[in-house]
């Protein structure tokens, strides 16, 4: 509807795969290629007094999350969940993902990012890397991935990480906000997602297993050690650089903001599996949906939320990151993110039939 020359044209074009969106996508992709595969940014970083291009990148990333986040907070200022969640995202990016690692470095400690965990950050369970760190970091790495991740996911769903803590999700939900609706909602893309994401998860598990074997038995088996090193750099190139960076962020204006999180992130895959069996769910109010489809449109993970809402089915999808935007945009207040099904009226009625007073909140 919005045509060249009318108000909001630029905004519309940029948000809807117009020419400006392609242009921006080209710029973002080029930036990531330059960042990962050249040293061109190093002199620039040093010129402004930073030690490396990676520090410059971290600074830019933090600025993008902060500015985008402030804009998102303003946009959704009437929604406490969005305000709290986005504030936490900005805070974590500014501390755990930026200033604390550099402070550690300044104190001659390892540059450690507490907001990243294996298998998103493969290094943190790579024995040759992690065992070289001081003990507290080793303990945090292992306990973080083995206990913190699954327990929190079982209690609160994967959102505790994907839309509250993680930097990738953080950027998507702040700087990436204008493009969240571009995710593909078709059932075909859901099928593809299930294949790709579990392939990456399987690959990351295999790689970690091989890194441990190679660390233990590599000396007596140089063939294995060489293969594992090759595998590791292949994974680093394809998954960490290409999929997470170049594709993941470069294609924001064309494919939506969660391409990496939805199709490739091994951490999201793992959290999603736990989420399926945990307490988190989206509760659907009975018979109130008008099938308008705003929920599906604004789901960054490409979930066809409407198909559940119009059927009156409360649901938990492995891919749901709990950003809460479906509930925000719903004009009839049909959806609610919950950590427990306590408020389902039918269940409540069951409880009452069994003689428990409904006046007591059902936990």
């Amino acid at each position: 509807m919005t045509k060249i020359g009318t108000t909001h044209w630029l905004l519309h074009d940029l948000k809807n795969r117009g020419i400006t969106a392609w242009l921006l996508s080209g710029i973002l992709t080029a930036f990531y290629l330059v960042l990962y595969f050249t040293e061109w940014l190093t002199p620039l970083a040093q010129g402004i007094g930073l030690d490396s291009k990676w520090t410059l990148y971290g600074l830019l990333y933090t600025v993008a999350v902060t500015l985008g986040g402030l804009w998102v907070i303003r946009k959704y200022r009437h929604n406490r969940y969005q305000v709290v969640r986005t504030s936490v995202v900005i805070l974590i990016q500014a501390t755990f993902a930026f200033s604390i690692p550099h402070l550690l470095k300044f104190l001659h400690q390892p540059e450690y990012y507490f907001s990243y965990l294996w298998p998103l950050k493969m290094d943190y369970l790579t024995p040759s890397y992690i065992f070289a760190l001081p003990l507290p970091f080793i303990v945090y790495s292992f306990l973080g991935s083995a206990l913190l991740v699954p327990i929190m996911a079982a209690l609160f769903g994967k959102r505790w990480y994907c839309s509250w803590v993680c930097g990738c999700g953080g950027l998507a939900n702040t700087f990436g906000e204008p493009w969240r609706h571009l995710s593909d909602k078709s059932s075909t893309s859901w099928r593809i997602e299930k294949i790709t994401i579990y392939t990456v998860l399987g690959t990351s598990l295999l790689l970690t297993a091989m890194l441990f074997i190679s660390w233990g038995a590599g000396k007596s088996n140089p063939e294995l050690a060489r293969f594992t090193t090759g595998f590791q750099s292949f994974y680093g190139l394809i998954v960490s650089s290409m999929l997470a960076g170049v594709v993941g962020v470069g294609l924001y204006p064309l494919g939506g903001t969660r391409l990496w999180c939805r199709f490739f992130c091994p951490m999201a895959a793992l959290l999603g599996l736990v989420q399926k069996f945990g307490r988190y769910r989206i509760t659907v109010k009975q018979n109130m949906c008008i099938s308008c489809g705003m929920c599906s449109k604004y789901c960054e993970m490409g979930i066809d939320v409407r198909s559940y809402a119009q059927a009156g089915e409360s649901f938990t999808r492995a891919s749901c990151v709990g950003c809460g935007l479906c509930a925000e945009v719903c004009p009839r207040g049909v959806l609610r993110l919950e950590n427990r099904s306590s408020r389902d009226p039918q269940e409540a009625i069951l409880v009452q039939i069994q003689g428990v007073s409904a006046s007591r909140p059902l936990i």
């Binding site: 509807m1 009318t6 406490r80 008008i290 308008c292 198909s307 993110l337």
Partner: protein, 433 residues
């Protein structure tokens, strides 16, 4: 067996899917003149506001129709011959049915104001895809618009126009906004909210005459209070009526009053012809006609009409009224009786300070009969249950938190409401609603 459904709105499509669920082999054909695929009419405003694409309005994936073997036919039906079990489309195509469902929905009301007929361009309604296209075509050349009609579609059109930077004069005939659904206090709360969005809301104003320029484009609207409002678009949103005009001249018309007359099993006066949704007219137990023009009723009727067509003994009774909406930013949930109340009904109203949040609970003879809530989210199923169980207002107020459906961290605090309610009980200030 060939089931033919005229109309691919929510009633028609729900009927088609329900038929398929029960009968794997029958032929099912859905005919529509409006669109190739079922669209959500309620989302037209989001398409107009560029928040969605047209394709996003389709609630089902297109391949679902092939998968469910539901044939879609595009075209307007012009004739119905129940003796030959045949319908004829505008282009001459004939379709033979075994059972036919008329789910043809509503058409917008129009009032013959002086000058309206001369205005060939710039006068719009807002209930179909075709209307959306017209509105979109007119918007770039519109600086000011007048919208008539203080209901839901009116405020939706106003919101769309405001989004596109159009200055809007919004004419409401009644003494406050939407007295059909809102009491005076809430009507004023919403009116203030609408005004805060820059809309010029004129209460108790009616159109006197419409003026158009030489080319036929509307240029101004004058009101009964002497206002002369320049505009390039006139939106008429004064309600809808069953879209039954086309049925009157057909070979064998069914009996029509306001809508197509049906019994409690959705049967029209013609054999094997059923009707459901906005266009169907039932008879209430007291003999008065009942036409339900609301999404939820259409969906439920579509499902039940399909079951009647399959031969189930269906006895339709309208459910307790409920609805929800959003006026710009204010959400609204209503259940039961809240307006046009009997004299012995009393109501407790509390407005939260600062926010545009209000809570109204209505009781009669010691039991709650209605809820009207603005500005926060509620699970209406609790309200329905409390009304069905004829709970006392005291009991309901104590359990009100159970029905809250606000977002996490955003739950509206009910302490103030409870304190106000205690006061209301103590001072015996139960007043007529």
């Amino acid at each position: 067996m060939h089931y033919v459904i005229i109309g691919n709105g929510v009633a028609g499509i729900t009927a088609a899917f329900t038929l398929r669920e029960r009968d794997r082999h029958a032929r099912i054909t859905v005919i529509s003149g409006e669109s190739d695929y079922f669209i959500s009419r309620t989302a037209l405003m989001y398409a107009y506001m560029d928040r969605m694409n047209l394709r996003d309005l389709e609630p089902f994936e297109r391949k679902a129709y092939d998968k469910q073997k539901i044939d879609r036919v595009r075209g307007w039906v012009r004739d119905l011959n129940a003796d030959q079990r045949q319908i004829r489309l505008e282009d001459g195509r004939k379709i033979i049915y075994d059972r036919l469902l008329l789910a043809v929905g509503s058409a917008p009301n129009r009032f013959q104001w002086p000058g309206l007929n001369a205005a060939k361009d710039g006068v719009v309604h807002f209930v179909s895809l075709q209307h959306l296209a017209e509105c979109e075509g007119l918007t770039p050349s519109t600086k000011r618009a007048v919208v008539v009609g203080g209901g839901l579609i009116g405020v939706e059109l106003v919101e769309c126009l405001v989004h596109h930077g159009v200055e809007v004069d919004f004419l409401v005939r009644e003494s406050w906004y939407w007295p059909m659904a809102l009491a005076k206090e809430e009507g004023e709360l919403i009116a203030n909210h609408i005004r805060r969005h820059g809309v010029k809301l004129h209460i108790e104003h009616e159109v006197n005459a419409v003026r158009a320029d030489a080319s036929g484009r509307v240029v101004s609207v004058s009101t009964n209070k002497g206002l002369d409002l320049p505009c390039q678009m006139l939106g008429i949103c004064i309600g809808v009526r069953p879209a039954v005009d086309w049925l009157k001249p057909v070979t064998t018309p069914p009996e029509i009053n306001r809508g197509i007359k049906v019994n409690q099993s959705f049967q029209t006066t013609l054999p094997d012809v059923f009707s459901a949704g906005d266009c169907a007219e039932f008879v209430r137990p007291d003999g008065s006609p009942l036409v339900e023009q609301i999404w939820y009723a259409a969906k439920r009727q579509g499902e039940l009409a399909a079951r009647a067509m399959l031969g189930d003994a269906v006895d339709y009774k309208p459910s307790l009224f409920y609805n929800s909406a959003k006026f710009f930013d204010i959400e609204y949930t209503t259940v039961g009786d809240v307006t046009r109340l009997p004299d012995d009904a009393t109501s407790f109203l509390h407005r939260l300070p600062g926010d545009a949040v209000s809570i109204r609970v209505i009781e009669r003879n010691g039991s709650v009969i209605g809820f009207n809530m603005l500005g926060s989210r509620w699970d209406h199923t609790w309200f329905e249950r409390w009304i069905h169980e004829r709970r006392s207002m005291e009991d309901v107020m104590q359990q009100l938190h159970l029905a809250q459906f606000d977002v996490e961290f955003g739950r509206v605090r009910l302490d103030g409401v409870r304190a106000a309610f205690a006061e209301y009980l103590k001072t015996g200030s139960r007043r007529a609603a």
